[in-house]
C-alpha cells in the first residue's frame, strides 16, 4: 500500500463569474521512503497541491488517502489530528515561534497530543540531537543562524515520528552552503529513518538531492520520473 494515494484531485476557486482551477485532476501515488521534489513555476499549482497533501486544505473534488485513510472528507479537527501525527512541516520562512526557545518550539506539536511534560522534553531533546543542535535548546530563534533555525523547524517536524515531511522551499532563505547542509540532513532522514520527504523547490540543484521529480504546469502534472542526477 502506498503512503500517499491521490486520485483525480482538483481545486477550484471562484473569481467572480470565472472558475479557476488551481489544480485540475491530478492523480499520483507515493510510497513510503520516497524523496520527491515538486517543481514548477509560481502559479503552477504546486503550492495548492502541497497544502492538500499537508491536510491544510481540502480538494474541491477527488480523493486523497494518507496511509490508507481517506482524508478528503475529514472535519477541521480531524485534519488537525492527522497533521499532528502524520505530517511534519518545514517552511521557507522557518515559522518558528519567536521569544520561545528552540526546545519549546520543538515541543510544540506534542502540546496538542497530550504527552506528559517529561516525555515532551525527552523527545524534543532527542530530535534536536538528530538535527545536530544539542546544546542549543535554550537559544531563541533570533539567537540562531538561518540554517540553525531551519534545523529547529526540521526537529519540530520530526518529533512526533511523522512518516511524512513536507518542505516548502526549505532552502529559499538560505545560502548555498547552508542549503546543501539542510538537504544533506533531509537525505539522511530519508535514508536512515525511512521518512518520506516531499520538497517544493524551483532550484534544480536542490531538486537533485531527491529520488523523484514531479513537475507542475497550470494545475497539471507535466512530468513525473526519476530525478536526473547532474
Amino acid at each position: 500500500m502506498s503512503l500517499i494515494e491521490v486520485q483525480d484531485i482538483s481545486k477550484n476557486y471562484n473569481l467572480g463569474d470565472v472558475q479557476v482551477c488551481a489544480l485540475c485532476g491530478v492523480s499520483l501515488s507515493m510510497d513510503k521512503g520516497d524523496f520527491v521534489a515538486v517543481m514548477g513555476q509560481s502559479g503552477s499549482g504546486k503550492s495548492t497541491f502541497m497544502n492538500i497533501l499537508g491536510c491544510l486544505d481540502k480538494p474541491t473534488s477527488g480523493r486523497y488517502s494518507l496511509e490508507g485513510v481517506d482524508v478528503s472528507e475529514l472535519s477541521r479537527d480531524e485534519l488537525a489530528v492527522i497533521r499532528n501525527k502524520k505530517i511534519g512541516f518545514v517552511f521557507q520562512g522557518f515559522n518558528l515561534l519567536s521569544r520561545t526557545s528552540a526546545l519549546e518550539n520543538v515541543e510544540l506539536p506534542m502540546l496538542y497530543n497530550g504527552l506528559p511534560a517529561k516525555d515532551r522534553k525527552e523527545l524534543a531533546m532527542a530530535a534536536l540531537k538528530t538535527v545536530g543542535l544539542s546544546g542549543r535548546e535554550n537559544h531563541h530563534p533570533n539567537q540562531l543562524s538561518g540554517g540553525q533555525q531551519q534545523r529547529v523547524a526540521i526537529a519540530r517536524a520530526l518529533v512526533n515520528k511523522a512518516p511524512l515531511i513536507l518542505a516548502d522551499e526549505p532552502t529559499g532563505n538560505l545560502d548555498t552552503k547552508t542549503s546543501r547542509e539542510i538537504m544533506d540532513l533531509f537525505v539522511t532522514l530519508n535514508e536512515e529513518s525511512d521518512i518520506t520527504v516531499i520538497i517544493v523547490t524551483h532550484e534544480p540543484d536542490i531538486a537533485v538531492f531527491s529520488k523523484r521529480t514531479i513537475r507542475f504546469l497550470d494545475g497539471r502534472v507535466v512530468s513525473d520520473g526519476q530525478t536526473v542526477k547532474l
Partner: protein, 409 residues
Amino acid sequence: MINIPSTVKISVRALRVNKMRSALTMLGIIIGVAAVITMLAVGTGARQKIGEQIASMGSNQLIVLPGASTSGGARMGAGSQMTLSMGDAEAILKECPAVSYVAPVLGGVAQVIYGNQNWSTSVTGTTPGMLVVRDWQISEGRSFTDDDVRGATKVCLLGQTVVENLFGSIDPIGQIVRIKKVPFTVIGVLDRKGQSPNGQDQDDTIYIPVTTAQKKIFGTTFPGMVRIIMVKAKGAEELSQAQKQITELIRQRHRIGQKQDDDFTVRNLTQMMQASEQSARVMALLLGSIAGVSLLVGGIGIMNIMLVSVTERTREIGIRMAVGAKTWDIRLQFLIEALILSLIGGGVGILIGVSGSQVLSNLAGWPTIVSMSSIFLAFSFSGVVGIFFGFYPAMKASLLDPIEALRYE
C-alpha cells in the same frame, strides 16, 4: 484531550511579552472591580449604620406627643402643654388591638448625687413597658415592676454613662442616689445602647417609675399627666393600623370635634428610619451600577486588546494549527488569556477596593463594610466579563484558515 497546564503557560507567556499592554488592559477591570467593591462597601456601611440606629431605638415604635396649643391667640409649639395622661396610655394598651406595649413618659433633666459625685442627666419616669418598647435589656440587677409604679417606690435604673460618672468602679446595685435631693435605691443597670440616630448619648439617662416622677420629682399641675406616650405595635405591618387606632381613640378621649385640630401627634419613628434606609439602599444600588458600567467598559477594553493580539499573532496561530492545534486548543488559549487578564485585574481591583474602603472610612469617616459577597460578586463578575469579551476574539482566532494564517505577514 486539551492540555490545560500548557495552555495556561502559553497564555501567561503571551501576556508577559507585552507587559505594559497587559497592565493597561487590566487597568479597566481593576478600576471597575475596585469601584464596585468600594461603592458596595459605602452602601452596605450606610445601611448597616441606619439599621443599627433603628435597632437601638427599638423596633415598630410609635410616639404619641402632645400637640400644639393656643394661648391667647399665640400658638405655642408642639408639646408646649401636657395633654396626655396615664389614662390615655392605659386606654391605648387596652383598646388598640394593633398595640402590644405602651410606656407613658414624664421626664426632665435633674441633678443626681452619689456620695461626693454629682451629675446632671435626663431622668425619665415611665413603666416597665418602656424597656420592651425600646428593646432595652437590663445588664445588672432587675427592672422595676408594675407594683413599683403603683406604689410610687423610690427605685431607679441607671444608664451606663451615669454609672461611669457617679460610681466609677463601685457596684451601683443597692446604693442610694439622690435625684433632686430625693433618695432613690439603684435596683438595676441598663445595657449599653450607644448613640441615637441624632447623635445623643442614650446611656446618659435614669429610669424611675412614672408615678414617682409625678409625685416626687416633676410635680405636675394635674395629677396623672405625662409628657409623651411610647407605643410598640404588634409588628411592622400593624404600625400604620396602630397609628390610626391611637389617633381615633385619643380624639375620642379628648373629645375633639370633627373640625377641630388634634391636640396630640402620633409619630412613626421606625417608618422614618426605614425611609432613610430605603434611600441608602437606592444610593448603594445606583453607585454599584455606575461601578458596574466601568467594569463593562473594562471588559470591552479586554476584547479590544484581544482582537489586536489575535491579528498580531495570526502567523503564530497558523503555525500552531499546522502542527496540530485543534479549534478548541486555539480558542482556549485566547480565552484563558482573557480570563487571566480579567481575574488578575479582578484580584488587584479587590485589593484596591478593600483598602480604598478602609481609607474612605478612616479619612471621610463614612462607615464602610466590605462584605464577602461583594468580593465574590466582583470577582466572579470580572471572570464572566473575561469569558464574555474573550470569546469573540478567541472564536475569531480559532476559525482562521491555517494557510492564510501561515502566509500572514
